[in-house]
């Protein structure tokens, strides 16, 4: 409704300024909706506390777990080392450090997962024998939960960043290989026929037609699997790494610190939201063309 009013408004003397204003207004409206969505949730929670429906020890409302910040900050160790001791942390920087470590693990795992799954997926279709050998394996490994890989990750990589990155990689890799295949098979037939008529070799068809045709769709798949990656990194951190947001959550659980649990959950939610928005931005700016099997916008 708002959009309709904005776009039908007559352009002023400076159409460029007008367009910029309209864009800013759209952004503000979008942000307002995000805030409204959040407020509704927080409001119900606070109401439950106020009406004494919920035990504040188990379910502390946001105004409690977001106000005793210095208390919370003490549990965050910025070095990425095994935390738990209360001496290392204590400032906003230590919180950002912990978020940074978790984000880095997700980011590296996603980049590796995306790149390698793309190469493997294309190779499965490009080299027939490779495809016949590898595809059944990928299909069998795909349904195994990343959590089941946790011991494997620890056997192989010990404690630290590598097992967490490995788990994120596993969480996206097999799904992304299968998604790559689905995307390759969905490339419009006419694109390939046209390239063949123009004299393109198989290699050129893969690099110059199939690859750009599938990238936007794959990126959408990656964005959907981002949340799975976040879930997995928390488990890895809680069990196999010993640092990061997952570790803080686990420690909060062990020490029965509900405030800290919800505070960390808030941080995870916000960080995941920021990741999703960033990927959305990349998608719009870099991969503007829309793949055959993807939805426009988002």
């Amino acid at each position: 409704m708002t959009d309709m009013i904005l776009s039908s408004a007559p352009a002023g003397p400076n159409p460029r300024l007008h367009a910029a204003l309209a864009k800013a207004r759209r952004r503000i409206v979008a942000t307002a909706w995000v805030l409204a969505s959040l407020s509704l949730f927080v409001g119900i929670w606070e109401l439950a506390w106020w009406q004494k429906w919920a035990n504040p020890l188990l379910l502390p409302p946001p105004h409690i777990f977001l106000t005793n910040l210095p208390d919370q900050f003490r549990f965050f160790d910025p070095t990425g080392a095994r935390a738990g001791a209360l001496n290392a942390g204590g400032s906003i920087w230590s919180v950002l450090g912990v978020i940074g470590w978790s984000s880095l693990r997700v980011f590296v795992g996603l980049v590796l997962g995306f790149a390698i799954s793309l190469v493997v997926g294309l190779a499965i279709r490009y080299f027939e024998i490779f495809g016949k050998l590898v595809l059944p394996l990928v299909t069998m490994l795909a349904p195994i939960s990343p959590v089941a890989w946790l011991p494997v990750a620890v056997f192989f990589f010990g404690i630290g960043n590598p097992p967490a990155i490995f788990l994120v990689f596993i969480a996206v890799f097999f799904i992304m290989v299968l998604a790559t295949l689905a995307q390759v098979d969905a490339v419009p037939k006419h694109y390939i026929q046209l390239a063949r008529v123009m004299g393109a070799s198989k290699r050129q068809i893969y690099l110059r037609v199939i690859l750009p045709a599938i990238l936007p769709g794959l990126f959408v798949t990656l964005r959907m699997n981002l949340f799975a990656a976040w879930m997995v990194v928390l488990i890895a951190e809680a069990v196999g790494v010993g640092s990061g947001l997952g570790q803080v959550t686990m420690m909060a659980r062990n020490t029965f610190n509900a405030s800290l649990v919800f505070f960390t959950m808030t941080l995870i939610g916000l960080t995941g939201f920021a990741f999703d928005q960033t990927l959305g931005l990349i998608q719009r700016k870099v991969l503007w063309w829309v793949g055959p099997s993807t939805v426009k916008g988002a």
Binding site: H190, Y191, L194, V197, G199, R208, P212, W289, V290
Partner: protein
Amino acid sequence: MALGLSITNLTKVWNADGPAPVPAVNSLSLNVARGEFVVLLGPSGCGKSSLLYIAAGLEQATSGTITFDGLAITEPAPERSLIFQEAALFPWLSVRDNVGFGLSIRGGQPQERAERVDALMKRVGLGGIGDRRPEQLSGGMRQRVALARALAMNPELLLMDEPFAALDIQTRARMQEHLLEIWKSSGASVMLVTHSIDEALALADRIVVFTARPGQIKAELHIDAPRPRDLRSPEMIELGRECEALLAEEVTKAFAEQELL
């Protein structure tokens, strides 16, 4: 040796080795001379598109021979260019890069390529829109870009699969005029598939009417009238009626066959 496209006793059966083979074209012979404009007219699914794909080298005939300038067609080649009903422009490339796609596959000097692309875009009447994206163009403009992309390869045979079917009727008429101009100046042969009788009358040197599946040639009509043609002239109306009668028989047959299924 026959110049141009020469098709002799060509048969195409889809899924020939499978449990339910579908005959598409049955023992068909047809020649398209250098510089000739031939329109294939027939009911849907009569195998005319199959014939086009075989001529492009994208599909193989089940039996029979097909040659271009005396050489057997076994694979696609830039000299035999194909244009689809939807322009099939690559959405990730600008209009200019779409037109230049075939040239860049072929290689050569980027400078020369850019000049050639500019010249082609002017030729199809799209001089100023090289930097736009395909999605920003109208259907008619997209089809002109597809035409420019095909022309870039200096085709000797243009194969067109209902190229204007998705356009509105006014745009369609303009595109037909445009195609005729380009056809005359390029000297290429054209084999165009349509099921619009008016389109066939406006464009063709020769209309080849197909039977229902499996496709065979039912009739050939030569049109000598100079272009642009007045489709309301008595001569054209008479030809149109003739085509309509021929087609109607085949459509009735196709329907009867479908009812048996």
